[in-house]
């Protein structure tokens, strides 16, 4: 059996910090699982710790933390991706995977045999095990050289998903992604507001599905793969 691996990140990088909404209102995020030395230990389901560091660095280049606001690192995008790959999606449980496998026209989309788990392993090999230690400009160059690959296209899509999906999936930590774009979450009703606020930004404070429904959701990735 595989040894249980953890991703260790400084708590300050993921939640537990003062963030700002688009309306520039401070919003405190609670951090969980913070160890005594101030680090966050997140159990990994699919990646090794080394693989997780490589993917986390690549996601950070795709959606960087900078003067416009927080990015993939703060949102915990790598944790989101780890859970997706460990679940049925990662194993292609919901894709047609019978052969024969043939090359086809671009209009037919992804036709290769590799599932997302295999694609990530290939992609990590191509990025190199020391990718996370490279300077930022070299990381960017490396990713630019891989832009056309299926791996990169998945990684880009997953980074956006990890930024803005409900936190029950492991990303969007502390609703940091929804604060960044002013998305209020799955609110039960806008009946009194849908035809108001014309031309003016209206940004109710974000809330997660669990906060709104007062019970935990059942993310698909928790289904047995």
């Amino acid at each position: 059996m595989k040894r249980r691996e953890f991703l260790t990140i400084p708590a300050g990088a993921l939640g537990g910090t003062l963030l700002y909404t688009l309306a520039r209102e401070p919003f405190r995020v609670e951090a969980q699982n913070v160890t005594q030395d101030g680090n966050l230990k997140v159990p990994l389901r699919f990646f090794t710790a080394a693989e997780a560091r490589v993917i986390a660095s690549a996601c950070e280049r795709i959606f960087p933390s900078d003067s416009t606001g927080p990015g993939a690192k703060e949102a915990g995008v790598v944790i989101y991706i780890d859970r997706q790959l460990a679940g049925p999606y990662g194993a292609d449980k919901y894709r047609y995977t019978k052969g024969p496998w043939v090359e086809s026209f671009p209009e037919h989309g992804y036709q290769a045999k590799e599932n997302p788990r295999e694609t990530y392993h290939q992609g990590i090999a191509q990025l190199g095990q020391n990718f996370d230690e490279l300077p930022a400009d070299q990381q960017i160059q490396k990713l630019q050289s891989m832009e056309k690959t299926h791996f990169f296209q998945l990684l880009r899509a997953h980074t956006i998903e990890g930024m803005f999906s409900d936190p029950m999936h492991g990303g969007n930590a502390g609703l940091i992604g929804w604060q960044l774009i002013g998305y209020p979450g799955p609110r039960m009703s806008y009946r009194d507001d849908v035809d108001q606020h014309f031309g003016a930004e209206w940004r109710p404070k974000p809330a997660s599905l669990e906060q709104i429904m007062r019970r935990p959701g059942k993310p698909w990735e928790d289904e047995k793969a």
Partner: protein
């Protein structure tokens, strides 16, 4: 194979058509009716916990498991067909309620000319001016015959809208180009959004006639003639690809099931995958199905109603060897003809103000039908039929809406520059959507794939389908129309003109795959007669958009339901009294 106790009527499919037909039978006759649904039962209480964009809008958790069955596609017989491995340009539903659970709720009546399109076009242009490969046909049923059934379906769902043509009287604010209606809509229009208001003002200013999109999302609390009460829409934005958490969106589970549950003569069996219609000597004797545990059953029935999605209606007839497969080389045969996929497309427009577009409802919005059918078209440039243009506000969700940028706003589609531009344009992008009639052509059809199989080893369906010059002209027309409207809305239009790309199975188009089991007045080119009874097997009825010889501009569900009620009336009032061929 276990033989089960015979039933009067076995229905294949527990979605809109199967349950609507069942409800007519059990409330109006003493027949015992069994509906077989391959998917799972539904728990309405679960829908509130499903307000999750990732699992439902992106991973498509409500759709058929494509790992078990898909279709293959090729652009022409010269190309090899390959499987659609992931969704996709369309999203077949599964489970009780079928695609009627995850649909958007747009409820259009088709124009009268859609039902006699071959005759209409021939009279307008002369046969010689019509393209040689055009396969459009008359349905064998007219708008006037369907009108009472449209009204019955609208009342069942409580459709929200505003009449524009009430018994011939044109009414400002409704769709004055619509087919004449005998009644006002059951409920008034939905509220609408900022962008939709801008569209309405702009199109009115330009002399067009904007109207509210007719919606199966209730604008107010409503009790239908069956006594089923549902709540008004909350504009939560989780609509298409979700089940409705308050039951405001009409779904088979919140309109028909509450009635059916009260009848002991109705049974719904889930997890039951019908694999063959069994028949001998021109009569269906029942259906063969496999349950979730893999056990096989034979269900004998006096009458079989095939009421699943377009794909499965076609496939079960092929697999059961009922009817004559269409051969495009000779033009002979009927099964699989006239495959169409409503022509949809979005044109992005960009604002310098926030739209608060996260609020919305599936069918919220305004549209224009000034060029629907062939209104305002001469046909001189080869454009025979167009359709509608709309602004929909079904609720922008955060993953899907992120990164919509005007061309040139960022060199890359990732990294710091892209992130900054995406944040700057966030909530400032809307779409003008076209809805075009898709003409049927001789070369677009459905048959069985010779190579790929489903989880049981049965052949998949194969689509041979590509766009023609006519669909490119329709998209061009929509774009030209949009370039007039966008600036009046205070928006900039995406300068990228529609491409003349081939049909692709990747980008979502709509789930409005139609045809293959077409209806018509004569058995040489149609599979079912105008009452949706199979020409060759008179105790087999095939219900759904599979029966439409070509698509209209509007989404098909309301017409699917009207045709279901029309067929159910024919069965109850004529066939059951004197079983045999109705045409």
């Amino acid at each position: 194979m276990t033989n089960l106790k015979p039933v009067d009527v076995a229905i294949v499919g527990g979605g809109w058509t199967g349950l609507a037909f069942a409800k007519e039978l059990v409330t109006r006759t003493s027949l015992n009716v069994l509906a077989l649904e391959r998917g799972a039962p539904r728990d309405l209480a679960s829908y509130a916990m499903d307000m999750d964009e990732l699992d439902y809008n992106i991973r498509l958790r409500m759709m058929q498991n494509i790992a078990e069955e898909t279709v293959t596609h090729r652009h022409s017989p010269r190309d090899p067909a390959v499987p659609v491995r992931q969704y996709g340009s369309f999203h077949p539903g599964t489970g009780v309620g079928g695609a009627g659970e995850h649909w958007t709720g747009m409820c259009f009546r088709f124009l009268p000319s859609v039902f006699n399109l071959r005759t209409h076009l021939t009279e307008k242009h002369g046969a010689a001016r019509l393209p040689a490969d055009l396969a459009v046909r008359d349905w064998g049923v007219t708008y006037d015959q369907l009108e009472p059934h449209y009204w019955y379906a609208e009342q069942m769902m409580g459709v929200s809208g505003k009449a524009g043509n009430l018994r011939g009287k044109l009414i400002d604010g409704g769709n004055i180009f619509e087919s004449p209606r005998m009644h006002e809509y059951p409920t008034p229009p939905l509220k609408h959004s900022y962008a939709s208001h801008l569209f309405e003002e702009a199109t009115r200013k330009l002399g067009y006639h904007p109207y509210p999109t007719p919606a199966a999302n209730l604008s107010q609390n409503y009790t239908n003639p069956d006594g089923v009460t549902r709540a008004a829409c909350a504009y939560c934005g989780y609509c298409s690809r979700f089940g409705c958490m308050v039951g405001a969106k009409s779904q088979p589970t919140n309109t028909l099931l509450p009635v059916l549950r009260k009848h002991k003569s109705f049974q719904l069996r889930t997890g039951s995958w019908v694999r063959r219609i069994v028949h001998e000597n021109g009569r269906a004797t029942g259906v063969q199905f496999t349950d979730a545990a893999g056990e096989e059953f034979f269900q004998p029935a006096e009458t079989v109603i095939l009421a699943s999605f377009t794909l499965n209606n076609n496939r079960l007839l092929y697999l059961s060897k009922i009817g004559t497969p269409y051969d495009p080389a000779t033009g002979k045969g009927s099964l699989g003809r006239n495959l169409t996929h409503q022509v949809e497309g979005g044109i992005r427009i960009f604002f310098d103000k926030p739209l608060n577009a996260f609020m919305g409802a599936g069918s919220l919005g305004r549209r224009i039908s000034d060029f629907d059918g062939d209104n305002g078209l001469t046909g001189d440039d080869g454009l025979l039929r167009y359709g509608m243009l709309s602004l929909n506000g079904n609720g922008d969700l955060p993953i899907g809406a992120f990164g919509a940028l005007p061309p040139g706003a960022s060199k890359s589609n990732w990294g710091a520059e892209w992130k900054a531009a995406s944040l700057q344009w966030r909530d400032r992008v809307a779409q003008l959507n076209m809805y075009g009639e898709h003409m049927a052509y001789r070369q677009n059809y459905i048959d069985l794939d010779p190579t790929y199989t489903d989880k049981f080893g049965d052949p998949l369906l194969r689509f041979t389908l590509d766009w023609t010059e006519h669909e490119h002209k329709q998209r061009d027309f929509a774009y030209n129309l949009a370039t007039k409207i966008a600036p009046v809305m205070g928006a900039k239009i995406d300068p990228t003109r529609p491409s003349k790309a081939k049909y692709n199975v990747i980008n979502y188009q709509s789930t409005h795959i139609q045809g293959g089991v077409t209806m018509g007045p004569s058995p040489d080119v149609s599979v079912v007669n105008p009452y949706l009874q199979h020409w060759d097997v008179s105790n087999l009825w095939v219900i759904g958009a599979s029966s439409f010889p070509q698509t209209a501009s509007g989404n098909p569900t309301l017409t699917v339901l009207a045709a279901t009620y029309w067929a159910a009336d024919a069965m109850i009032n004529k066939y059951l009294k004197n079983p045999g061929k109705l045409a």
